[in-house]
Amino acid sequence: MWRLVVFLVSGLLIGRLSAIGRERLRQVETERADLANLTRLSQAFLSDTTRESLLGVAADRLGNALQAKHVSVLLGDAAGKLDVRASTSRFDVRQDLADIAYRQGNSAAFPSDLGGTDIYLPIPVGVQRAGVLVARGMASSDRMAEGCAVLLGLAIERERFVRLEREAEETKTSDQMKSTLLAALAHDLKTPVAAARAAVENWAEEAGGSPMSRLAVDQIQALTRRIGELMDVVRLDSGLARPRREIVSAAEVVEAALVRFGDALSRHALFLDVPRQEIRLDVDPSQLTEALGHGLENAARYSPAGTEIRVSAAALDGRALLRVADRGPGIPASEQERVMEHFVRLPQAASLPGTGLGLSIAKSLVEMNGGALRLSEAPGGGTLFEIDLPEPA
């Protein structure tokens, strides 16, 4: 009798224990399969270097890993709008649940009408979210789905870094190429002109300054200036002429511009109005001198000899203003913006030398240094050329 009882009890116990053992074994096997799936998924994600190829196959891979009927990946755009970017098949995503997962980071899981689970999971990227992973009729565990979402977030983040690095590398390479090309072009243009100029000047001296030799010297000097301007425009348009800023005083900029471009003003009455107290500027000194110089040249070229040209510097409400005012015919208000474009010249200036590049160069240079260039009517008539810069803190 006793033996029978012991036999029964131990039989029951053993049956129960082996049921527990089998269940454990099944769990371990599921977990091992999940782990293998995650590993395969991460390897697959790592081999994708572009967002297109990553998203192109992500849904199918996730579908396999999660043993789901449908999988969709929704990503937020720059404006924060969620869009389906990859999908195993067309199905309706519940927008309300996707939004909650995306905006608040809360996941939702519930029994699916397709069997298994429907789940909405945020795709984490750092403390932010890149989008939402949606699986319908999923047989895998919620934990497996979370693992997949984390993996997807990492893959998206990795792809972004790879892309940024590649872009930076491409910009660098193309900048270097442009810069080399420009230097070669400048060199190829300037060297023969410099040699020609010196040769012509040598010859002109021998010719004893005959009218013909003077004409040749004048023309080659004009050509030199034009080439310089053209190179400036090309350099500015290429985006390579980045300012090398430092703190300088407005007085120094005015002084430098007068030295470099002052010869053009020899036929005018020059008035300087630069206050003794320092006005500081945070600019590339060469570029700003150049910009102001174009204002001086413009004033000298388009106003009659003997009239006054007023150069001033002033500080006003945290702004620094550098001005050149002439007593010429002025520029009609309707044309004041347009003459600052490349190659634009007023009809009344057609008979005078010039390419119409000076003001556009000045405008680019000033803007590059964080300022604005304005043309307006000078008080009492004529043109007011005004460079407006923020004073450094």
């Binding site: 410099a194 040699a195 120094e252 430098a256 007068l258």
Partner: protein
Amino acid sequence: MSRILVADDEAAIRKVVRDALEKAGHDVETAIDGEEAISLFESAAFDLIVTDLNMPNVDGLELVRRIRRSSVLPVLVLTVRQEEREKVRLLDAGADDYVTKPFGVAELLARARALLRRGHAGSTPLNRFGDIEVNPEARTVVRNGQGVHLTPTEFSLLVTLLGKPGAVWTHRQLIAAVWGSAAGVSSDTLRVHMGSLRRKLETDPDRPKFIRTEPWVGYRFSPEG
């Protein structure tokens, strides 16, 4: 007649510089880069070196440094615009002057002439220019027969400039000469003193003839006006 060494990697520039200097009566040797210039400099005596800044192998700046290790031979450098910082480095490294490409022949010859004159005469300080007369011992300045009052700093600046007629000075060099190199004097301070010196000596201080500004580099004293 002076012996001049011209270093430039551009054949065309070498030719026109050589022609201009030879026509002015000088004896010219040329080098195609800084390396050749150094070996010529070491093997023969010259009165002046005219060198390009951008050359392969040894560039102009390096050439100036090498020459200054053993010699005070005047060096004139050919630079291009937008190399203002380079100019300051050249001058601080010991170059005597520069001309900016594309330069005029007259300008090149004038600079070369001034350097040769200074080289031959040593540096004879000047005490008269334009209508101005300076007596360094008595520390007086007379302009058009009228006494001009200068502050001690202004006077010291003027005497420094007179010591090297035609020379270009960087801010740093002038500050070192007038205040002593240890002094923490800024370019702004220098500019203020220069401004008042100009107002006392120049007919049109806004377009100075004698004490000229070299943009972003410093000043040049041109006694010929």
